[in-house]
Amino acid sequence: MPTTPVKAEPAVNAALTKKDFQSDQDVRWCPGCGDYAILNSVQGLFPKLGIPREKFVIVSGIGCSSRFPYYMNTYGFHSIHGRAPAIATGVKVMRPDLHVWVMTGDGDALSIGGNHLIHALRRNVGLKIVMFNNRIYGLTKGQYSPTSEVGKRTPSTPHGSVDHPFNPISLALGADATFVARSVDTYREHLTDVLEQAARHPGSAFVEIYQNCNIFNDHAFSYMTEKEIRDDNQVVLRPGKPLVFGAKMDRGIRRTAGGRGLEVVALGNGVAESDLLAHDAARDNPAFAFELSRMEPPAFPTPIGVFRSAPRESLESGIWAQVERAKAKAGAQPSLDALLTKAETWTVS
């Protein structure tokens, strides 16, 4: 019956390669854009997932990042500004067997589409939402975005922005997202690993990618991504491992004496790795992940990796379980006649 979802099929097409996922369209991002690196990672990852190509659907909204579907040889939907999570919800609910990815940006997801993002996350729709955060509006030529820092001068803020920005990871955790992660466009290996974990997560996965816009906001993340300084300015979240960072891996994150906050400490002089905070993304309570998300420069290194991975039932699973229960209760799918006559009726002869 077409009214029941197609069950996930075992992977059959193991021979897929990166090339199978490249469409015939010319990629039209500015030369040097971080989006190229992300496209590369995704095209490299998809063949490894063991999923038939036709089972992928990529939905996007509006913005530079939202051109993504055109460059992937999968099913794709380049929709309207901010609405990709809502459109993708309709796709995923009707076809839970499909692997639905939402490609979005900081303006698309957090400004015009903020409402759809938080509701998709709280419902735990099985979408992989990948947000390219370049902290600027690129396609409309350089206005500040909901993640731009206070004081940013742009065409629409000649005196500097006075808006307090969103922290996307905190926002996603606040919306009760079951999988929340951060990576960086140029960290090919780390990014691919994070995206693969997102792909394998059964419910909503939210991945923020720091992405450099070399035209309107160049070096937005240089403070933490430049080779010489990055190890001192970022901490990689590893499951079960203490939060250690630094070029010499000689510093760490510890809970303060009163237990009310976090602090950076140097290892040695009586401070051992066992004194540091150990990462645990699986906690049901998102408060721990939220605390980590608040670590921002200059006081703290920027965490990258998986903040939270704590599955719960997805929306589509709940919906179809109710349908199956209703059908079971009715014995079988009742006839259309049964539906039309389900009322007080009388017959004229």
Binding site: P2, Y75, A86, T89, M94, L336, T345
Partner: protein
């Protein structure tokens, strides 16, 4: 002896008068359960075999302050032994459960009309809240009416003396006592309501029994005390053979959409955000789960339509239901649906506007929004339902068009149709047409061309995700003809704009010739659309009784318009167009056909009365 299934024959002393049409209006505080007894009267009347039409009229506030004028809720039902079309212009009987209900409704009761009041509610506080300085039951101001002053609250308490319930709980049953009285007056069967009470209160059997007792009490009281000088018999109306039920417009929309999806063999997905008066479409369809219907209460109007578009992309029939303010929010997504050429059904249950306007009142002022309310050239077929039962056929046809032409389709209903009821002959599934759906499943060696079109309908190729080798991208950017690739080519753009317009225009090739009620040409043609049909038909009956030659065309298809319409309009000396807006369809017809259409506008949140149309025609024709 209590009446169980059928009313027992009245005592010999009780004279029986036969009448062919009755209009009853129930009015009371919005907490009095007026809508419940109105609906129960409707069910019982349908089972009694009469034709009927109803008009619920309730305030937008869930509970306005008790006893006040804004808190009055009304329900009018008209029933007859012949084919009727409207809930009636003026009531024969007014049941007023409190002074506020009397005050707001008495002006509509003609001299000599029956007036039933609950005298217990006419105490100082309620009189003051209603703005009465003196008790109208005592000051002679109601002398022109046949007044039946009944202490309904006291009688209900007496009937429920044995029940272990608080006074407040007992008083809540008084609506059923009043209903029992009206059942007696027009000899309606009690069994439908008794069963309904049983089901409704199954978790609290004591309340079920109390309400049943109150209902029987009202009936028995009228019988024993001979309250009314005579009772009335309204013979069954002649109905076509078949199985019937009462139906309200929103239920019919839900059923029509679901039936069409079944006939197409597709799952249906309704994405919706609650809004008066459309919400009950979502409620109804949420209970169709065993039929594979998926409903999704979205976070807002935009997500509602967006999720439906996503569902259509995934191969389902996506649908969304809303009212005017919601339609305004959906405009951009509707444009997307036009661009990606996916099937989509959109229900707009119109209400008074602009802005929040009159949420519970009816209007037809979204027509131009439906036709044109999007950026750029974004043609969408628009259909309008004309009666509660017609909502089924209109929703069914909208789904057919959406699938056959790969297009979003807008269905206009309104608050009057949404909650008005009429007997509806239930179609058999086997009599409904199958709806063919052609998914492309094989690229046949070449690349898949999503914008290759059917030569007859111009519908594009539809391939759904999950189909191997047909991977493709759709989106809101302009498409290259045939390939669907993004294209900024100016000549291609104009070609695509014209193709999309031509596709919608071609839908008219499937319409039957326009039906004309009355002579094919003559002095006057009344053109109507949507819910004005009943009032126009009622007016035609009276005008013809007066020997006037008037014709009527009622339009379901507002875009595209029927191909023969222009020629028909030109055959009449004058064209009159009553509509519940400031002349929106008149504006369209004047522009399209250069016909001097005379607009008859009414924008009061209330449907037309037949008498108003009769008066306007007489004024026109002299």
């Amino acid at each position: 002896m209590q009446p169980e299934t059928d009313p027992r024959p009245p005592d010999a002393a009780q004279a029986v008068e036969t009448t062919d049409r009755v209009v009853i209006r129930f009015a009371g505080d919005s907490g009095d359960g007026i809508q419940i007894i109105g609906n129960q009267y409707t069910s019982a009347t349908a089972v009694a075999g009469n034709d009927l039409a109803t008009l619920p009229d309730f305030p937008a506030e869930i509970r306005a302050p008790a006893g006040t004028l804004p808190g009055v809720s009304g329900f009018q039902i008209s029933f007859s032994s012949f084919d009727i079309h409207t809930p009636g212009d003026v009531p024969d009987v007014l049941v007023a459960m409190n002074p506020a209900a009397l005050k707001t409704n008495i002006a509509d009761l003609p001299a000599g009309g029956m007036l039933v009041v609950n005298t217990n509610a006419f105490e100082k506080g309620n009189l003051q809240k209603a703005g009465y300085e003196k008790n109208p039951l005592e000051d002679g101001s109601l002398a022109n009416f046949r007044l039946f002053a009944i202490p309904i609250t006291d009688l209900t308490r007496k009937a429920l003396a044995e029940f272990d319930l608080s006074v407040k709980e007992k008083d809540r049953c008084k609506n059923f006592f009043a209903l029992g009285m009206m059942f007696y007056l027009y000899q309606r069967p009690l069994d439908v309501t008794l069963r309904w009470i049983e089901e409704k209160f199954k978790k609290t059997p004591v309340l079920a029994e109390a309400n049943r007792t109150a209902l029987r009490g009202g009936f028995a009281y009228c019988d024993a005390a001979e309250i009314f000088p005579h009772v009335f018999r309204v013979k069954p109306a002649p109905f076509q053979e078949g199985t019937y039920r009462n139906i309200m417009g929103n239920s019919a929309l839900a059923l029509g959409l679901t039936a069409a999806a079944r006939q197409a063999g597709l799952p249906v997905f309704l994405g919706s955000y609650p809004i008066t008066p459309a919400s009950t479409i979502l409620h109804e369809m949420s209970a169709f789960k065993e039929h594979g219907v998926i409903t999704f209460q979205a976070e807002d109007e935009i997500a509602a339509i967006s999720s439906a578009i996503g569902a259509s992309f995934a191969g389902a029939i996506g649908a969304t239901s809303t009212s005017g303010p919601g339609l305004a929010l959906k405009g951009e997504a509707l444009g997307l649906a036009v661009m990606v050429e996916l099937p989509l059904v959109v229900f707009d249950v119109q209400r008074g506007g602009p802005s929040t306007g009159l949420p519970t009142k009816t209007e037809q002022a979204d027509l131009l929004q439906a036709l044109f309310g999007r950026n750029s050239e974004a043609p969408i077929p628009v259909l309008a339902a004309s009666t509660p039962g017609d909502c089924f056929e209109t929703a069914f046809e909208a789904t057919q068009i959406a699938l056959r032409y790969m297009t979003p389709v807008l269905v206009l209903s309104d608050g009057y149709l949404a909650s008005g009821a009429e007997p509806w002959r239930i179609p058999k599934a086997s009599d409904l047409p199958a709806i063919p759906v052609r998914f492309v499943t094989d690229a046949k060696g070449g690349p898949f061309l999503p914008y290759l079109r059917d030569p007859e309908t111009l519908a594009r190729n539809w391939a759904v995700p999950g189909t191997a080798d047909l991977e493709h991208r759709v989106g809101g950017l302009e498409k290259e003809d045939v390939t669907g690739n993004v294209s900024y080519d100016p000549i291609n753009h104009e070609k695509m704009v014209k193709l999309r317009a031509e596709k919608v225009a071609r839908i008219a090739q499937d319409f039957p010739p326009t039906a004309i009620d009355g002579p094919e040409s003559g002095p006057l043609l009344i053109v109507g659309w949507g819910s004005t049909k009943g009032a126009i038909k009622g007016a035609l009956r009276r005008l013809r009784e007066q020997g006037r030659e008037v014709s009527h065309v009622h339009l379901r298809h507002l875009n595209p318009l029927p191909r023969d319409l222009g020629e028909i309009l030109h055959r009449f000396d004058r064209v009159l167009l009553p509509e519940m807006n400031l002349g929106q369809l008149a504006f369209v017809l004047r522009g399209r056909y250069l016909v001097d259409v005379i607009s008859y506008a009414k924008v009061q949140g209330q449907p037309f009365r037949s008498s108003e149309i009769v008066a306007r025609v007489r004024q026109l024709m002299g």
